[in-house]
Structure formats: C-alpha cells, structure tokens
Point group: C2
Chain length 300, copies 2
C-alpha cells in the first residue's frame, strides 16, 4: 500500500485513513440488533490515534511485506482497544463522562448497551481474525495470532492490568516498579502484540522477534509516560479530556512519583532503548524509528 520512503506524516495520515476505512467496512458488515450495532459503531468511529494498527502495519513495512496482509489483524486489535475503553469508562470502573472529547458510550447508550457493545467488539475481533482470507496467512499463523492476541488481552494482560489498576487506586502510593508492572499489563502487552503480530505475519526469525519485542516493550513504557506528561502539560482541546484529571483522581503517575523532569528523563531513556533494539533487529527499521519518535513526542 505504501512505499517505505514516504514522509512520516504522509505515511501516518494515509495509514490511519486506510485503517479507518477498513474499520468502517468491518463495523458495517457486522450483523446484530440496531441499538447494539449503533453503540459499537459510535465508539469505533470515535477516532483516536490508531497507534496499534499503525505499529502492526509499520512492522510489516519493515519486512517489506504488503501492508494488506495485516489490515484485518490490525483492525481486530483496534476493536479490542475500543472495547476496553468502553468498559473502562463505565460508572463501576473509571466513571468517565468524556472520551476523545465526546460523551462516553454509556452516557449515550446506557450502561447495559455499553457493556454489551464491549462484549460484542471483543468477540468480533476473534471472528475477524478467524474469517479473513489471505493466501499469505495460513491457518497455523492465524491460530498463533489468536493465541497470543487473547493472552495479551485477557487476565494475564490487559484485563488483568485494569483489575490491578482499580485495586491500586485504593492504595496510598505505588512504587515506580509497581506502576510499571500495571502499565505493562494494561497497555504494554497489547502494544507488544501489535508489533509481534506484524513479525508473525512477516515470518520474522527468532532474533528479529526478540529485538522487536524488546523495542515494543520500551515503546509501551514511553507511550504511557508521555500520556502522563500530557495530562499535566497537554491542551484540553488537543487531548480531548480535562487536563489534570489524573491528579484529581489521585492516580499514581510517572510525574507524581518521579517529578515532571524525572518523568521526562525516563521517557528519554526508554525511547533510546526502544530505538536501540530496533537497530539491532536486522530489518528495514527507519519507518518504525519514525513511528516511535512520533509516539514519544505526540501532543495528544
């Protein structure tokens, strides 16, 4: 779809458009009762940076593979990310009224439908991987993708991280290690899977996979630190939620535990490590380096 030598902004814009179009086609193809489909579509179309699909597709680009072979898996990951936001926003969880500058799903459709819309998006993500047809993606790769995808998303990954995060909110303060362990599960594992899925689809060798996993591990931490910094320094119009909301919720964040300067220093360290592993992966890594720099320096 996209040649490797495109300027990064053009690549991001074009890839995001491709992902959004494909997500739209996918949600339109899902069968079900109208209210439920409306609620699913509302959150899928709410936009967002599409970081995870972009990471998967940029990994394919690094192996000089056609991005088309990864589009369905990339969208499946975005569906799981979307469902997790719907459930996290529920009154019983983070009780958020706004998401990306718009009312949260349960504010528009009610709690019951929001829970079901999340359930249906999660379920459909697996149907999507199991049903797309591509001659370059044989069934053994699909089974391995589904296995690792579910592992990254479930009790041992994202859902487990959200559970730990809720418990941590009742604690006075976390150590940096505890905070990192929660984020590793809650957001890190799905970010790592996005890169690993690209590597699996491209039949990466063990050395390439190991380096890419390490790259994504450090990128995931950097991503979260940047998020915490944006909550202090960001602009409400740009980030789509009230600045300082972590502080009001008394959440443990990197700036709170390390000071703002300390957090920025840590962000730099993990960025450098991420890029170091990329350079060792023996792939055409320039595009991924650009994506990493974009994620680390983003203003929303």
């Amino acid at each position: 779809m996209t040649p490797s030598n495109q300027p990064i902004n053009e690549f991001l814009e074009k890839t995001r458009r491709t992902v959004n179009e494909h997500l739209e086609a996918i949600t339109e193809s899902i069968k079900g009762p109208k209210t439920l489909l409306d609620a699913m579509e509302y959150s899928v179309k709410a936009g967002g940076k599409r970081v995870r699909p972009i990471l998967l597709l940029a990994t394919l680009d690094a192996f000089e593979e056609s991005l088309a072979i990864g589009l369905d898996v990339a969208c499946a990951i975005e569906l799981v990310h979307t469902y997790s936001l719907i459930h996290d926003d529920l009154p019983a969880m983070d009780d958020d009224d706004l998401r990306r500058g718009r009312p949260t799903n349960h504010k528009v459709f009610g709690e019951a439908t929001a829970i079901l819309a999340g359930d249906a998006l999660l379920t459909y993500s697996f149907e999507l991987i199991a049903s797309f047809k591509n001659e370059h993606v044989p069934d053994d790769i699909k089974v391995e993708l589904i296995r690792q995808f579910a592992h990254a998303s479930g009790a041992a990954g994202m859902v487990g991280g959200q559970s730990e995060d809720l418990i941590a909110e009742n604690k006075a303060s976390l150590s940096v290690e505890e905070l990192e362990a929660i984020h590793y599960k809650k957001t890190g594992k799905l970010i790592i899977f996005s890169v690993v899925a690209g590597a699996l689809l491209a039949r990466a060798n063990t050395e390439q996979k190991t380096n890419l996993e390490q790259f994504a591990y450090h990128l995931g931490i950097a991503f979260q630190i940047r998020d915490d910094i944006l909550d202090i320094e960001g602009d409400i119009e740009t980030i789509g939620k009230p600045v300082g909301s972590d502080d009001m919720n008394e959440k443990s964040t990197y700036p709170k535990l390390l000071s703002l300067e300390g957090a920025k220093q840590k962000l730099l360290e993990h960025s450098e490590k991420a890029i170091h592993f990329l350079e060792n992966a023996n792939i055409n890594h320039e595009r991924l380096v650009q994506i990493a720099r974009y994620i680390i320096n983003r203003d929303n």
Copy 2:
C-alpha cells in the same frame, strides 16, 4: 472416555465430572491478579448442568470419536456461557442477586471485578481453543471452530439476543415469533454451536451437519420452553432461584403467551422434531436422543 452403552445417568454424571475437573484445571492454569482469578473461578465452579459441554461430547460419541478431542472446546463454550451469566446478572442488566442458589458474582466481588471477570473468561475461551494440542484437531478445524464460536457468541448471536431481550422488556408483549427469535440468538445459537463443534471435530459430512443443526435448533427452543415452565412449576431448592421470578419481572414467556398447556404442547412438538432430525442424521444417535429427553424433562 465413555462407552456408548452406559446408562444415561451414569454417562451424564461421569461426563459432568470430567468437564468439571477439566474446567477446574483450566481456571487454575490461567495467570492473572488474584482478585480477578478468584471472581472467575467463583462463577466457573458455581456448577450448573453443563448442558453445552455434554452436547458437544455426546455428539462426538455419536460419531464414535474419542471424547477427549472435544474437551477443551466443550470447556471453552462453558466459559462463554459462564461469562454471559455474570454480565447478564449485573445491576445494569437483569440485576439478579442469586444465581444457582448463591450470590451473583457482582454481589461477592463488586461490579467492576464482575465485568472484568466476564471479559477475561470470554477472552480466555478463544485462547483455550487456539492453544490446546491434539493431533486429531488440525489448525484449519481450529480456525473454523473459532470463527463459528465467535459468530454464535457475538452481536449476531448471544450478545445480540441479550440486547434484544433488554429492549423487549420495555415492550408490552411479544408475539411467539418475536420471543422465539430472541431466544434463538440468546441461547439457541450457542446450543447449536455445541453440537456443530462436535460435528466439525468428527469431520461430519454435509448431510450429517445439516440434520444435527436442525436437531440442535429444535432442542434449543425446547430447552427454553422447559426453562419457562420450570419457572412456574419448579421447586426453588431444585432450580436455585425464586419460582415465579419471570412473572414478577413481567417477562414474556411461552406459558404467558400460550398458556401452560399450550407451552407443554409446543415443548412436545419441538422435542419430536429434534429427535426426528437426529434419526435422519445417519449417526449412532441413541445417546443424543437420551440427552435430548433429559434436557426436555429436566427438573432444574
């Protein structure tokens, strides 16, 4: 595991014990934070009739296949059934305090953990199918199982049915056709999948599959009618929830739309149709006939 000529009660008891032991081993093997795992285990171990796993295993029995090749898929279906009960019981949905005679998941663990426990059980069901190893279950069968499993469980199936059921509660009364359409999605499709999964694992031919699908379709309706009748005639100790709760909730049921006698007549008609299709399936159908009779005549 079990020879076909065992008495039905012995088969049911032994199969249920095998399923329960395997479910226990599975839940113990899942990694994650303790609170979350405790909540998942609480509902998985709450018991129940294990109708779906038994249907899958009895279908394998009808093809004279080893039941062992279907045990993981059977348990995956039970995990999805369990998650659906946890989410259905939530205050935003049916708001139930009791399930199988014990406090519902959110009553014990709180709403947030109950939502997450459901999410994690759903996610793990796909990991389970993708990760079990059996030389008789190649990857193309696994991919097809996952595709049909997700389809039966998601917006087009179980989740969609629950969504329609919630909307129907605000309506004055449903027609029998409307009621049947909701149950077909909410419970029918997963019951059908349980039988179809057995047929897929046993490499059934098209004629066998079509007849088994029709069998399971009618069995699913009969199952639901029996449920509605038990809500009127059942014994609270045996069914584990207050008798007459459908009536108090003003839910549309078969006895309400057809009278108790009319519902019993309809139950008989669908039972006979179910058994008719079984007899046409050209398989060793005796065990499945027994299971069908057990489901239709059960007292809990």
